[in-house]
Symmetry: D2
Subunit: 258 residues, 4 copies
Amino acid sequence: MSDRIQVTVWNEFRHEKDSKAVKELYPNGIHAVIAESLAAGDDMAVWTATLDEPEHGLGEKVLDSTDVLIWWGQIAHDEVSDDVVLRVRKRVLSGMGLIVLHSGHFSKIFKSLMGTNCSLKWREAAEKERLWNIQPSHPITDGIGEYIELPNTEMYGERFDIPTPDELIFISWFEGGEVFRSGCTWQRGHGRVFYFRPGHETYPIFYNEQIMRVIANAVRWACPRVVLEDKCPQVKPIEELSPKKVSFGKAGRLQGNQ
Amino acid sequence: MSDRIQVTVWNEFRHEKDSKAVKELYPNGIHAVIAESLAAGDDMAVWTATLDEPEHGLGEKVLDSTDVLIWWGQIAHDEVSDDVVLRVRKRVLSGMGLIVLHSGHFSKIFKSLMGTNCSLKWREAAEKERLWNIQPSHPITDGIGEYIELPNTEMYGERFDIPTPDELIFISWFEGGEVFRSGCTWQRGHGRVFYFRPGHETYPIFYNEQIMRVIANAVRWACPRVVLEDKCPQVKPIEELSPKKVSFGKAGRLQGNQ
Amino acid sequence: MSDRIQVTVWNEFRHEKDSKAVKELYPNGIHAVIAESLAAGDDMAVWTATLDEPEHGLGEKVLDSTDVLIWWGQIAHDEVSDDVVLRVRKRVLSGMGLIVLHSGHFSKIFKSLMGTNCSLKWREAAEKERLWNIQPSHPITDGIGEYIELPNTEMYGERFDIPTPDELIFISWFEGGEVFRSGCTWQRGHGRVFYFRPGHETYPIFYNEQIMRVIANAVRWACPRVVLEDKCPQVKPIEELSPKKVSFGKAGRLQGNQ
Amino acid sequence: MSDRIQVTVWNEFRHEKDSKAVKELYPNGIHAVIAESLAAGDDMAVWTATLDEPEHGLGEKVLDSTDVLIWWGQIAHDEVSDDVVLRVRKRVLSGMGLIVLHSGHFSKIFKSLMGTNCSLKWREAAEKERLWNIQPSHPITDGIGEYIELPNTEMYGERFDIPTPDELIFISWFEGGEVFRSGCTWQRGHGRVFYFRPGHETYPIFYNEQIMRVIANAVRWACPRVVLEDKCPQVKPIEELSPKKVSFGKAGRLQGNQ
């Protein structure tokens, strides 16, 4: 068990309570469906956490034992406490993987790791989407063919205000005329981040086998190689230095001449 | 005048008041020396701003008329108000250029745009530094030869915790055995960001002609092409969509079958 | 005149002779239409060259005085001599800009600079294309809005086998369901390379003002900052080295102990 | 056995015959030492090939069964046949990993995949090198600490004329005052390429455990995820297209009006 990847699926979990339609689709929440799918394999131990739990279910202990965190949120980004965001961010920079789904593009954690607005265009018109696999040799697209087709989705369109991804994995085509960088990776500190566009709450996206395959692949890809604490150490020279004519230092003890 | 690049040089301006040695070197502050040097050409109109002014000298009006902001800070990063940081960040993402010098690596604004810890190693030993010019055809290295040599500097060493730069311009060699990515560019939103390592307050770095040439080049390079507001608009389809079998929407009106 | 950008527009110039339809559209060749458009401004001096001229019109002298070379070819890539390709490649690596249009993706010069197959999917169905502007602050998209729409084009679809572009400028949407990275930049040596997808010979693409604006912008962007010869020099140490216990050298004079 | 990574170590194998000093150090050739080291683990099946064998030991069959190819060459790059280079290149683009060592920077295969001159500065002065680990969370640096120190090496210095690496893994510091991007990765087609600087023939570099650890890590990292043939297929539209007013086609059958 200890050699399984420890996955925490975080969900805002509001739509599923407030909307009859969403409740029908995801009676126990989006997180439950994702978690069940990931746990079906034998290489992941999967937990869930939601906004309304204490510390949003993301206490120090939970994060310390999480290898990869999956994030879904949409209407309550502002209710996520800044302290929890800082904690998650610190843990990502130390090595934890982070997978941000769909409307998570506007989450505090994603924006704080990207440094940009993460804005985009959008439209709800049940239109067809085709996610083209641009990197068929990338571990995240293992087992995925040329593209994934979703018959009905919310549209997200460019310009998506993100830093240039380290790797662009999927580009989406939408029936209504737009395109989108739908699968993107970035390294932040020692952690790997994957943004994956699909996942609107009123379409059965997380029941789609190919979508769940991508997410499972991404979990394996994002699993930490190392966990390293951040520091900014003062160090000694490794080489012997030549004699100096100047003094120096934080206190500004400039005495010689340069 | 209006077609000059509008440059604001921001300085924490504390060392120059507190330390005799720094005061001797930069009697009117680091910002004054940088501003004077940049203003010597005829293509920039240069202003200064410092921490202890109201709004740190970075009110809405100042930022709105700034094309490129230069940032130097070291011991008082925490005193910079979060509101001002947000304002600067918003303006960078809209297109303003930002040049971050030396210990500005730990400034709130730089960390918020990078999304990482921006930590590094350091040592004060007046050692020799050589900044190798890795991109001789880049506008930022215009007029700079193979390398810039500084006889005495504070050392900054890898690992520097930054996202992979869009462009790596300089790599530093230090007498004591370390290396550092000393000149790096990133695009963030519509703005261009340049980090440039040199600039310790107790060495006469900003009197070095090559260093000032790099900074002037960087100002010209970072000058905005566009200034665009951020938005996340709901849009209409450009193509006529095929008839849909499902309903949809924010309120989750899922009625049909997919 | 000498401070104008010296542009050479190279065209295979075969379709325009062999096909009545293409001849009607481009009676003097695609190169003539591109050249005339670029020369209409006052910052470029524009020349043309074609496959059937001696040395394909790309003698040493022509290349030495060319700042930016534009390349269009489709059915006769194999007829371009390897020597001329090497000469163009050498000149790009020394600083000359290169703009590769449409079916130039399969030209020897483009493939030799990319190092990949540069393969793609294609279809001729007069379908609608929309080139989304992903980088509105890039000099290449100056004056271009959110997208360029072409009512009828040949389709090029992913996966496009190229190295990850330094900058992804345009992503195309096609009526038939595909996407394509239609505007990409790479630095190669000291030269800048821009690939731009539009330009099929049977549609009036090069009469489109927005398309020609992008090409003119790209010429200005690709104009060399420096022209540097390639070398692999043996150099002397800049620092004095510590005494060595080993001998060394090309001839393998290993005498001491490490 | 069949699930082991199939590694072929290619060596020019000339110095070891011509130079007494090199022969002493690598009596059976550099390839033999590398192969033995890699084969010591239980996850690789390792073979060797050299320049003077028929087809340089790199026949179709050998390449087809090779997952990762390691390349060492220095004085006989020109003797490698263009046909074999094309064969290796095709196989890399289809998915085979390639690890290029030291003076292999000037090999035909590396230059053809990079598209640049791959030139650099160099000096033989038995000087100290320190390879700083810039990416401690990358699989290639697994088990490597902050840096690798080599007491005596040939120096390679910037500017190294390569395309910007996808990932910069190591930066070298040299006693004599230079720096170098010593560990770099690129994706080319479906294959992964790693350049690793150390490896001069007159120093016992390939007996260094850390160096061999990096190479073994790189083999695991470069092992293909997929093997895909290259093609440029004509495809049918996936969507039904709107009626067209124009004809089109390779033969230029332009009949309608746009």
